[in-house]
């Protein structure tokens, strides 16, 4: 697992570095370092990211880009629910995005103090409304997570037990509940106050995931992955590199 983490980190750094090197001397490519805070109901995030945006088209207003992002999530008394799509939706195909959750298969893992960190590579799409005002959507693609182990309350109807868990190590964007691990996505507007500095405001949609020490869920089949979905208000600052 350590080798996988190192490989993922290396790939992330290589992608970001490659895009950064291409940016030299090209006016259609812009780089930003962002610092964001997200806040929700007894939960929050600290996000640091490097964004490399490339303008497309004659006016360079349509944006596609990549970046690397560190997400630190902190949550108090958070409910994590059964994660695998096979259990939540009864299948793993692309159609899971349209399927309702199968409530009978959904168990809960309640964590008193959740703290997960992730380092992910993300994709950006956007549009520049003017020289100073821009909107962006980005979503994590792949990466890894780390954080302290916790003990949570596994709740299965009238039965329950305390169980240890750790952040799911490997993060991968697939489709809906097929996703693995902790992945963030942001929709925001950025306004440049000066040539270098800007402010941001928007929302974050964050998947956070724990893997329990044992396959604590046994029905309808063994499962050890539990996910929390957070919709957070987000604000931050940008520095243009």
């Amino acid at each position: 697992m350590l080798r996988l983490r190192i490989l993922l980190l290396a790939v992330t750094v290589m992608c970001v570095t490659e895009l950064a090197s291409q940016a030299q001397g090209t006016t259609s490519v812009h780089k930003f370092t962002d610092l964001d805070f997200g806040a929700g109901n007894t939960e929050g995030t600290l996000v640091v990211s490097l964004n490399i945006d490339k303008g497309l088209g004659q006016k360079r207003k349509i944006i596609i880009g990549f970046g690397g992002r560190f997400n630190a999530y902190l949550g108090k008394n958070q409910y994590f629910v059964t994660a695998p799509a096979k259990l939540t939706s009864g299948s793993t195909g692309p159609g899971v995005i349209f399927k309702e959750n199968i409530e009978a298969n959904m168990d809960t893992f309640l964590v008193k103090s959740a703290q997960l960190n992730s380092l992910n590579l993300f994709l950006t799409l956007g549009y520049n409304l003017s020289e100073r005002l821009m909107v962006r959507f980005n979503i994590d693609l792949i990466g890894f997570s780390f954080g302290k182990s916790v003990t949570g309350n596994y709740i299965n109807g009238t039965q329950g037990k305390m169980e240890g868990a750790s952040p799911t190590s490997f993060n991968l964007l697939l489709i809906s509940d097929n996703d693995r691990g902790s992945l963030n996505s942001q929709f925001f507007a950025r306004y440049l106050l000066s040539e270098k500095w800007g402010i941001k405001g928007g929302i974050q949609f964050l998947f956070s995931e724990y893997t329990t020490d044992t396959e604590v869920q046994q029905f309808p089949e063994p499962n050890d992955r539990f996910r929390n979905k957070s919709l957070l208000f987000s604000a931050g600052v940008s520095f243009k590199l």
């Binding site: 805070f37 309640l110 309350n153 208000f233 931050g236």
Partner: protein, 139 residues
């Protein structure tokens, strides 16, 4: 940096404004009749950093088990549940349901046929915050 910190604090303050699910406080008087059931075990309720008092008793009521809190009183709190547990830490438990009231006689049917020598602790447990309010060891 100071502006960033203030912005974060304001956002967190907005996010933390949630409703608490407190237990009803009106006294209850359950219709469970101990004279028609067999007493299995009993224990005294004791608070754990919160004020809880009374008696918890397990009865066999025609083959099914019931936990009765009588008399009973507890300090109020959010999301209070009655657990039948193997220890005071809720390491392995059966959730008997939300606490019906902070005061008065109340009964809780036990699902299945658990071994009460193993599940011998009755807990008043704040599920949302994972806090033990009070416990009784059935003996």
């Amino acid at each position: 940096m100071k502006k960033i910190f203030v912005m974060f604090v304001l956002l967190m303050a907005y996010g933390c404004n949630n409703e608490e699910m407190n237990t009803p406080t009106a006294p209850v008087d359950d219709t469970f009749e101990p004279a028609q059931a067999t007493l299995l075990s009993t224990g005294v309720m004791m608070g754990n950093a919160h004020t809880v008092s009374g008696t918890a008793t397990a009865y066999d009521n025609g083959g099914s088990k019931t936990i009765v809190l009588d008399p009973f009183s507890t300090q109020n709190g959010p999301d209070l549940k009655v657990y039948l547990s193997t220890d005071p830490n809720a390491t392995d438990y059966i959730n008997l349901g939300p606490l019906k009231s902070t005061m008065g006689k109340q009964s809780y049917p036990v699902a299945g046929m658990p071994d009460l020598t193993a599940y011998r602790f009755v807990l008043i447990w704040c599920e949302q915050f994972s806090v033990l309010f009070g416990k009784a060891e059935l003996q």
